[in-house]
Symmetry: C2
Subunit: 315 residues, 2 copies
């Protein structure tokens, strides 16, 4: 039986690389006992260095009561590492055969019902769980790099995953200081990477065509959309920028611009259904807040973001 998300005290993190190390540091900072499984004792020094680097930032963000690096146990025996655990975060290399073999062992060794979450970015859980004897509790919990800092965890199941495992994981990650996003479907790249990848491919096209240099691309992002996007996602940025009319005004007025060659990515057809989904989605995020209130919040956020970046650069 799995315990309630708020009763978790012991976590197993599998993998000695930057993702496994980042997760271990995050869970330690959240006040958990963490057992980190490393494949090879030779990885230990680099692994501890990742945690020590992360700790500098985690201390500044604020540790949970009782959080300590002393609560880390490094373990080189996989079955021992998971024997008495409440949650497993797996960050092994992105090789399907390897992951499948790992989940065959985990499926038997991890206590019944305990959720096993994979950090995979390129594989689906349907593939990974194929040879696992208890696939119903295996999920993807995909972090964003660096995982000890960025809050996002994209959660999605495979074909054999039970819905309860997903809702348990959503509740657990939220308690554990993350921003969980439960996805409706298994899609390649999940949500955040798809958005970032579209931007990245456009950037590569521009460099390939001599339209911009890497430096110009980074200047444009850092000084343009990014400080705003850290405070407001792109949907709400357009919603709030259009004042009273919100997203409806944006789409009705600027819809034709979707046909302009403003990127190599062709836009979907702006059907009434898509328009309404966008409008309803933004209205629901806004709740009963007036756009002036959201714009003021946005401005306070951007001012803070700009100052934070300035401070970090020492300029």
């Amino acid at each position: 039986m799995r315990i309630a998300p708020d009763q978790v005290t012991r976590i197993t993190s599998i993998g000695g690389g930057p993702i496994g190390g980042g997760w271990s540091a995050h869970f330690l900072a959240q006040g958990y006992d963490v057992i980190s499984y490393l494949h090879d004792p030779a990885e230990e020094a680099a692994f501890r260095a990742i945690i020590d680097t992360a700790w500098i930032s985690l201390e500044t963000l604020g540790l949970k009561e009782g959080a300590s690096r002393d609560r880390l146990t490094i373990c080189f025996d996989l079955e021992e590492a998971v024997a008495d655990t409440h949650f497993v975060q797996e960050s092994a290399p992105e090789v399907l055969d390897l992951k499948q073999a790992l989940y065959t062992i985990l499926g038997m060794a991890v206590p019944e019902g305990v959720v096993i979450s994979s950090s995979t970015s390129g594989l689906t859980m349907t593939e990974i769980q194929a040879h696992c004897s208890s696939p119903e509790r295996t999920i993807v919990g995909h972090p964003f790099n660096p995982p000890y800092l960025l809050p996002l965890v994209e959660i999605v199941g495979g074909a054999k995953t039970w819905p309860e495992a997903l809702s348990w994981a959503r509740d657990f990650y939220e308690i554990a200081g993350k921003a969980p996003l439960v996805m409706n479907k298994e899609i390649p790249g999940f949500v955040a990477t798809r958005l970032q990848e579209a931007l990245w491919r456009e950037a590569l096209h521009m460099v390939a065509n001599g339209e911009a240099t890497p430096e110009q691309i980074d200047i444009a992002l850092i000084n343009g959309p990014a400080p705003r996007m850290a405070m407001q996602g792109q949907c709400m940025a357009f919603h709030v920028a259009c004042g009273e009319g919100g997203m409806a005004t944006n789409l009705d007025q600027f819809g034709p611009a979707l046909q302009l060659p403003w990127t190599r990515l062709e836009a979907p057809e702006l059907t009434k259904e898509l328009r309404d989904r966008m409008v309803k989605g933004c209205d629901s995020i806004a709740g009963n807040r007036h756009f002036t209130e959201m714009a003021a919040e946005r401005d306070r956020g951007i001012v803070g973001v700009l100052k934070a970046v300035r401070d970090a650069r020492g300029t």
Copy 2:
């Protein structure tokens, strides 16, 4: 004759909307005398409200010595507004006929050599300057919304623009507290909007296909790529994340992922030339800084950005 960029004291801002108002507020905060031309006296109240709203943020970011809203003059006569000016920022409605007629007047009324910069986002200067009698000093200086906060100004000329006007504008905007980006070519959407638009179109595709809701898209951005991108552009984010190997490792190792269906945007062919441009570009931004130093700076920045967003939300 145009004066040196650091000798500018008087600026004319044309347009009473959010962009014209945002520019006026920014230049006032930078300690300039600003004459704002409004088309219609009925616009004045809303225009002053934009400036007052912007002023809250501008005070927090820090005003230049002597900066004051008392140094704003509102003027309803276009020729009078530009008669004695050192620089013109034009933010009239995005209608080509209207802009062309405006530039016909400005070409004659603005003192010789004084740079006239258009905030246009959708038109090219080649089109706008077509009927202007002194097109050589007309440029695009495209801000990002909100223009009183986001530092980016994308600068590009039209077919008849002299290169000196572009370099003068770059120097001037930098002195005036902006982050200028001089573009190599007139391309639709400039740099920042093309990148943002690629991301936006992918977001619309995901909503159209039921793969994500607007809320999920915004959660993904705010908690994933955006806080990092505010500190490090996407090129340097990948460069630094790959450690010693930098962008070369990124492209050589993850190049095949460009063929994966991680967005609807097809990637360009990763030729040796493109690879080398990316690598050289990142190496040049990095200078002689080691990746560990840049990663530490990134982490300090992200920590500050996350705290700033938290503070602005009051959470």
